[in-house]
Amino acid sequence: MKFSISIQYITPYHFELHWPNSIDPDILLDMARVRKIIEMKLANEMVNIISSYCILGLYFKSPPNKAFIQMELTEIIKDQKPGNDQERFKWTIPVCYDFEFAPDLEAYLKKKQMDIDTFIHIHSRKDYLLYFYGFLPGFMYLGGMDQRLSIPRKASPDRKIETGAVAIGGNQTGVYPGESPGGWHVIGKTPIEIFHPNKGYAPFQIADYIHFGSINKKQFLNIRGKKDYKLHKERMDG
């Protein structure tokens, strides 16, 4: 076993699997593997399986037999069959960094003493790893932002951040899938709908990579006008 994973018993309905406490791509992949097996074996018994950085939460509909679950989980943790690895993709989300679509960008650059080209280069150069969805439906927790872009969250959150806003808060960057209050600095906007609320669907899977592709205003309007815009994706090897 690569990691030591402990089973925590919270209540008769809530069990958790704890990996070592850190943000680590290898933990993410290991958790994705375990999650997939649990989904195959136990999905019908669950209210939810909740992913996070290093804890996988298992919330049951009715209390399972503790000894049985302990046995199942121990077996699942040990199951290292390579066939359980999911197919992974790198997606390009188009982002327009035009001041018109990025209400906080000017102030952000001033605070960071950075010019816009350098900023766009650093932000759109990285491949961000999708750890999990949380905070809002369709909100991706992305890992791997260049620390040079870090900025503390706003002291008081804005009442309204627009759908599609690309923002930075602390050491993280993300896309607002819907309108929401928020304390992050909006530095760009994507014209695409990354989450279809009532279908509960975003194409990106946990452990996929997200890349932000810089586009200009004309391209932004062009993509937004399209009903059938196809996101660019590449298969990741291994």
Binding site: P12, V47, I50, S52, F135, Y201
Partner: protein, 284 residues
């Protein structure tokens, strides 16, 4: 087509079923009833599946006109339930006749009341649930003047005069909690404070969470984002205690100090701002 017309829709009336399962993977909360004790009894009384949909009513003040006759039952918070001058006890099945207006007064005790009817409510099922939650559903509550379509069941239920007792949990002050995953990070003083003193609910509460008035002196920092369940109790760096409820986000970074049982969630949900509760530690 049979309809309920919300002449007065109240402050926050929504439709809730058992919840939206297995959607946390997209960051979608489970939703479902704030007080599942009352919710399940309501379904039981009208002989529905325990997780079937009910109207969930917050604080009362409703007038519902029925365009067709239908048997209904209400259970949960205490209120005057009446048609014209006739009052009906909660927990008892009665018929609202075609064209009549069912009035549910402002609540006298408790916060959440469930109404179910002998028939089927015609609402959209999205991602496996009918529970209102924006952005999955288009609305989060009913507005004055809105209509809800239903299909009454023609085969009437027997309406015996036997009825069940008033919900006891409205007066229950003990809220049972399990140690949360981060319980071990609490200091001895913090633990003593949690279980020796009463806590009161603040006005800052909704279907997402309930903030308590009293704070705990706290030096714990934020942690890496971890799973949140309905009933998870979070402690913020400023010492605020927040009990996460049914529409809460699925992950969060504050220490998870306690975990309420489903029954405890119902007990807490029925308490009004400034009412007091005592946490009682139980173990699994």
């Amino acid at each position: 087509m049979a309809e309920i017309i919300f002449k007065k829709a109240g402050i926050w009336t929504s439709l809730q079923d058992g919840g939206r399962f297995n959607q946390a993977k997209m960051g979608i909360p489970v939703s479902g009833p704030m007080d599942s004790i009352s919710f399940q009894l309501t379904n039981h009384l009208i002989r529905h599946d325990p997780l079937d949909s009910c109207l969930e009513i917050y604080m009362g003040g409703l007038e519902l006109m029925f365009t067709e006759s239908c048997q209904v039952v209400c259970y949960g918070a205490l209120s005057k339930i009446s048609i014209g001058l006739t009052q009906y006890a909660q927990g008892r099945i009665f018929t609202v006749k075609k064209g009549e207006i069912l009035t549910i007064s402002n609540f006298e005790k408790g916060q959440w009341l469930y109404l179910s009817l002998h028939g089927r409510l015609e609402t959209e099922e999205l991602l496996g649930s009918r529970s209102f939650y924006i952005p999955v559903t288009k609305k989060e509550k009913f507005q004055d003047g809105e209509k809800l379509t239903f299909i009454p069941n023609e085969r009437l239920l027997p309406t015996s005069y036997a009825r069940i007792a008033r919900p006891m949990h409205l007066s229950e002050k003990i809220v049972e909690v399990y140690p949360g995953p981060d319980f071990s990070l609490l200091t001895k003083t913090q633990r003593e404070m949690l279980f020796s003193k009463p806590f009161s609910l603040s006005q800052s509460q909704n279907r997402m969470g309930i903030h308590l008035v009293e704070t705990l002196t706290n030096r714990m920092e934020e942690l890496l984002s971890a799973p949140i369940y309905p009933g998870t109790v979070q402690l913020t760096p400023s010492g605020k205690i927040i009990v996460m409820m049914k529409d809460a986000q699925v992950t969060g970074g504050y220490p998870r100090i306690l975990q309420l049982s489903e029954k405890a969630i119902g007990i807490l949900a029925q308490k009004r701002p400034f009412e007091r509760i005592y946490f009682q530690l139980i173990f699994f």
